[in-house]
Symmetry: C2
């Protein structure tokens, strides 16, 4: 009674691949954020900008966008906030008047060097007792799925 369409209601969210990926991502990201969110009052976007500038020293916002796979809006806001906190300076770009060259200040580098070991430790704990082969297979799978997404334009 009342239920027509009673056939075929057999979709199982808990074995739906994208659901599992999302759930996994949520756990991993929460774990990593614990390294910097409260202690340094940073957003993931800020941490990622910092991580990229920590390694690549001086870049235009543009390049951070490319390297971080974040949107330019997100990068713009993260950069602004980091400037306000004196973790990042923008010097004018002689080649292009629209963009500034961005780099960490000494205070920014200091913070970066504090956070790096913390996030690496978390990564190590997450990956404890997982073989190199397993890790490689995992990353291979990710690549395959990404390729499939491209091939099928999803």
């Amino acid at each position: 009674m009342t239920t027509e369409n009673n056939k075929d209601r057999e979709f199982e969210l808990h074995s739906f691949f994208p659901y599992l990926v999302r759930d996994f991502y949520a756990e991993v990201t929460r774990a990593v954020q614990s390294a910097y969110r409260l202690d340094y009052d940073m957003s993931p976007a800020e941490w990622r900008c910092m991580a990229i500038l920590g390694k690549d020293q001086t870049l235009a916002a543009n390049e951070i966008v490319t390297l971080s796979s974040m949107g330019k809006v997100t990068v713009s806001r993260a950069v602004k906030r980091m400037q306000e906190r004196d973790w990042l300076v923008a010097s004018s770009n002689s080649d292009d008047g629209r963009s500034k060259m961005l780099s960490l200040t000494n205070a920014g580098v200091t913070t970066y060097l504090e956070i790096v070991p913390k996030v690496l430790e978390i990564e190590n704990k997450l990956l404890a007792n997982i073989s190199e082969k397993q890790k490689k297979d995992f990353l291979d799978m990710i690549d395959k799925v990404k390729k499939n997404r491209n091939i099928h334009d999803l």
Copy 2:
């Protein structure tokens, strides 16, 4: 000059496991959302509620929270919106005056049955040419990482 701390700046975001997971998740979730976001004007939260009620027919909001790993706030809002669209009805729960029993309306079931094949097709495309073993290994890896997260309280 100006750069002290020039040593040890060797953190590589692009091989940082949580970054790869996030990036992967972002791609997968975008692919799936394309099945319902524009065509049905639904949020992921609404789709997940629908998916759970589609299978389990009648549940309290509470149980949807557990089954969906979403927060109760998110579920509450998704349910409210689905009620407004007449995709979901709440009938009073004789056992507990605080909660209502939720189920899809016929219109809700119809929508559900339209969306299910679309998301399954997307899942199939994402997983094309990936062996069962690879999938299994991938899920095993996820479980291991989750266990590690628990063990180390991250």
